[in-house]
C-alpha cells in the first residue's frame, strides 16, 4: 500500500471526528408520541391492528404472519456481521399524538418544519428540494410522508384522483380499497418469504398504496418520504404499487433518521404488480443514519422488495442509491412472468466507515423472451464491507430469455472490502446470460491528474465516483439524479472535516 493510498483513505473516511456533521438529517423532532411498549406478542399485533381500525380479515392476516414468524430463524447467509437483535426490546408502533389530520392544514406545524428541514415540501405549491432553480416548469411531485409508524400527510391526492390514480397511506387503503389490498397484498412477497417479511407482515405500519388504472399514465412523480424519529422503535412500512394494464407510474422513496447510538431496525416490504403493458419505475435514495465512524448506532435496513411482471410486455425497473444505514440487506427483485416482460436493476451502494452492505437483486425468468438488466456499482471506503449478491434464474419456460449483468466495484483506500456473489441458475440451455464484473481503485494517477489541473483532491474523488456511477444516475428522474450526486458528494466529502 502506497503512502498515497493511505492519504486517500484518510481523506474519505477515518480522520473525521464527528460523522454527524455531514449527516444533515440527524436531528430529532420533539413531538409527543403515542408509543406501544417494547415487546412483541399476539396482543401487540392486535393492538397495532386496532390502532389502525382494521377489518378483522386484516387482523387475522397479521396474526397468521406472526405465528409463522415465531418458527422462522433470522437469515445468516449475508456477508454482514452484527449482534443478535432482541426483538422483545423494540417498540413496534409509535405515532405523533392526536387524531390523524384530515387535511394538510391540520398537520402539526412541528412535523411540517421537520419535513421542510429535510427538503421535503408537504404543501402543494412547492417543488422538491434542489429543483427550485428549475423554475415553474419543474415537474410536481406528490409526497406521502411517513413519520415513524404513520403517514402524516399525502399531497396532491385530489389532482391524482382526477386521473383515477389512488395514492394514499396503506392503512387508508385497507379501509378504502379492501378488494385491491386483499387481492395483491402478500401476492408478490408471501408472508413466510423470509424472516423479515414475516415480521413485517405481522406488525407493518404505514407505507404507501398506489393504484394506477388501466391505460393511465400517472400525471406526476409519486414519492414517499420515510422518517424514523422515535427511539427504540422499529419502522415496518409496507408499500404496494399496482399498475393496471397499460399504466405507467414513476415512484421515488427517500429515508432519513436521527443520529442515535443505538441501532434501529427498519424492515420494510415493498410489492410491485405490473399487469399487461404496464410499467413501474421505482427509485430509492436511501440515506438512513449510517452510524458513526466507530460503527456505533445506525439503522439496520433489512428490506424485502420485489416486483411481479404479471402481464405480457410489462416492465419493472428498480433504481437504488444506497448511502446510509449501518447494515443494508436488500435485494429488489423482479419475477418475470409475462411474455416479453422486462426487469431492470440499477444500483449504487456507497459504504464508508464501518458500514456493511449486502445488496443486489434476483431476476426470475419464467415467461418467454423475458429480459433483465442488472447494473450494480459498489463503492467502498474506510473500513466498510460492500457486497453485491445477485441471482439470475432461467426457468424451463423462459425460451429466448436474456440477462445482462454488469457489476463494478470501486475501492477507496485499502482497509475496505468489495465482494461479488453472483448466482446463475439456468434450467434452459438456450438462455443468454452475460456477466461482467470489474474492480477498480480510485488510483493515485487519476487523483494526480486532477490535482495537476488545479482540482483539489476531495472534489476529484467526488468527481471520479460520480463518473463511476453515471450509468445508474442516468436512470433516475432528473431532479433526483442531481440529489443523488449531491448526496454522494456529501457522503464522501464529510470525511474531510
Amino acid at each position: 500500500m502506497s503512502e498515497r493510498t493511505t492519504e486517500l483513505a484518510d481523506l474519505v473516511g477515518e480522520e473525521h471526528a464527528a460523522t454527524g456533521r455531514d449527516y444533515a438529517a440527524g436531528f430529532v423532532t420533539e413531538i409527543e408520541a403515542d408509543t406501544l411498549p417494547p415487546g412483541l406478542d399476539e396482543s401487540i399485533v392486535r393492538a397495532i391492528s386496532a390502532k389502525k381500525e382494521e377489518p378483522s380479515w386484516m387482523t387475522e392476516w397479521r396474526l397468521d404472519a406472526f405465528r409463522r414468524w415465531l418458527s422462522m430463524p433470522p437469515p445468516r447467509w449475508a456477508h454482514v456481521q452484527f449482534p443478535d437483535i432482541d426483538f422483545q426490546a423494540i417498540s413496534y408502533f409509535s405515532a405523533p399524538k392526536g387524531d390523524a389530520p384530515k387535511s394538510l392544514d391540520e398537520v402539526d406545524p412541528e412535523l411540517l418544519r421537520t419535513y421542510e428541514k429535510l427538503g421535503i415540501p408537504l404543501h402543494e405549491r412547492a417543488r422538491l428540494a434542489g429543483v427550485d432553480t428549475a423554475g415553474e416548469d419543474a415537474p410536481q411531485v406528490a409526497v406521502d410522508a411517513v413519520f415513524d409508524s404513520v403517514s402524516v400527510a399525502t399531497t396532491f391526492k385530489e389532482r391524482l384522483a382526477e386521473a383515477g390514480v389512488v395514492f394514499c397511506a396503506m392503512s387508508e387503503a385497507v379501509r378504502e380499497h379492501p378488494d385491491l389490498v386483499r387481492r395483491y397484498l402478500g401476492s408478490v412477497v408471501p408472508k413466510p418469504d423470509n424472516f423479515y417479511s414475516a415480521l413485517n407482515s405481522a406488525v407493518f405500519s404505514d407505507g404507501s398504496f398506489v393504484y394506477v388504472p388501466k391505460g393511465t399514465r400517472c400525471p406526476m412523480e409519486l414519492s414517499t418520504y420515510f422518517r424514523i424519529n422515535a427511539e427504540n422503535t422499529g419502522q415496518f412500512e409496507r408499500t404496494l404499487i399496482i399498475a393496471d394494464e397499460g399504466a405507467y407510474v414513476s415512484y421515488l422513496e427517500g429515508c432519513t433518521a436521527p443520529m442515535r447510538d443505538d441501532n434501529q431496525l427498519h424492515a420494510a416490504v415493498v410489492e410491485l404488480v405490473a399487469l399487461e403493458d404496464a410499467e413501474i419505475k421505482y427509485s430509492t435514495v436511501q440515506n438512513w443514519y449510517p452510524g458513526d465512524e466507530q460503527g456505533n448506532g445506525g439503522i439496520y435496513n433489512f428490506v424485502t422488495k420485489r416486483g411481479a411482471c404479471l402481464g405480457d410486455r410489462s416492465k419493472i425497473s428498480w433504481t437504488q442509491v444506497e448511502t446510509g444505514s449501518a447494515i443494508t440487506w436488500k435485494y429488489p427483485s423482479v419475477v418475470l412472468r409475462g411474455a416479453d416482460s422486462v426487469g431492470e436493476f440499477y444500483s449504487v451502494a456507497l459504504t464508508r466507515n464501518r458500514q456493511q452492505a449486502d445488496t443486489g437483486t434476483k431476476m426470475t425468468h419464467i415467461g418467454p423472451r423475458t429480459k433483465s438488466t442488472i447494473v450494480s456499482k459498489g463503492i467502498s471506503a474506510g473500513n466498510s464491507q460492500n457486497s453485491y449478491r445477485g441471482r439470475v434464474r432461467m426457468n424451463p419456460g423462459a425460451r429466448g430469455a436474456r440477462n445482462y449483468t454488469q457489476c463494478d466495484s470501486l475501492l477507496i483506500g485499502d482497509a475496505c472490502g468489495a465482494h461479488t456473489f453472483p448466482y446463475i441458475e439456468s434450467k434452459l440451455p438456450s438462455a443468454v446470460i452475460e456477466h461482467e464484473a470489474t474492480t477498480s481503485k480510485v488510483s493515485d494517477e487519476q487523483l494526480f491528474l486532477c490535482q495537476q489541473r488545479g482540482i483539489d483532491p476531495e472534489k476529484a474523488v467526488a468527481m471520479i465516483v460520480n463518473g463511476f456511477c453515471r450509468d445508474v444516475f442516468r436512470t433516475l428522474p432528473m431532479e433526483f439524479a442531481v440529489e443523488a450526486a449531491k448526496l454522494l458528494e456529501v457522503s464522501l466529502e464529510g470525511a474531510v472535516g
Binding site: 490535482q451 495537476q452 472534489k459 471520479i464 453515471r470
Partner: protein, 248 residues
Amino acid sequence: MTLLRIEDLHVEVDGKEILAGIDLAVDAGEVHAVMGPNGSGKSTLANVLAGRPGYDVIRGSMTVDGADVSALSPEERSLRGLFLAFQYPVEIPGVSNMEFLKAAVDAHALGRGDEPPSAVDFVKRARVAAGRLQLNPDFLKRGVNDGFSGGEKKRNEILQMLILEPRLAVLDETDSGLDIDGLQVVADGINAFRANTNAVVLVTHYQRLLNYVVPDHVHVLADGRIVHSGDRKLAVELEERGYGWLAN
C-alpha cells in the same frame, strides 16, 4: 524575465538519486527542449516540477515567478500556472472531458478570485480549442481519455493546456505515440500557445517535434545532470550522432 529557475536540484525516487544537481533558467517567451537518452531523468524533471508524489526533493530549489514551489501541493502549483502534459494520460471513465475541463477551469478561476465562467461561455471556449486540435466536438462528451487512441490522448493534453493557459507548460514526451499528422496538429497547438508571457519546456527523446516547434534552447540530460546546452542546432546534431558522445 526568469519564469522558471531550477538550482542544484537533487531528486530521489524510492531512495535512489535520479536528478543529481540540475540548474536551469527559463525566461518568459522561451521554449526549452530537454533531451536525453532513456533513464537520464527527463521525465523525473517534468514530474518533480508538477509535484507528483514519490519524487522527493533532497536538495536545491525550484522557483516559478520567484516563488519556491517545492513545498506546494500539485493543485497549488497548477493554480500558479504550472502545467504538465502527461506522458501517459490516465483514464477517468464516466467523467466527461467537458466536466473535467470545467472543474479545472472553475478551480483556476476561483484560485484567481474570479467567478467561474458560465457553462455557455465555457463550452464555446472548449469547442474552439477542440477545433484547433482537429478534434470532433463529440470528443468533449467522452470520458476523460476513456478509449482514446494514443494520439487522441496527447491531443487532449494539449487541449487542456490551451484552455487553462498556464504560465509554464512542461510537455513530457507529448510527441510519442503521434503519427505525422498528429504531430503537426499538436505542434500547431503549441505554437499557437507560445507567447511572450509564458514559457514551454519540451521533454523529448527525438528531435522530430523540434522541426515543428522551434526551441530557443536545447539541453541534454544524462545521468541526472544537464551535460550540454545549445541552440536548436544541437538537436539536429543529436539526431545525427546520438547521445553517446555527450554522455561520456
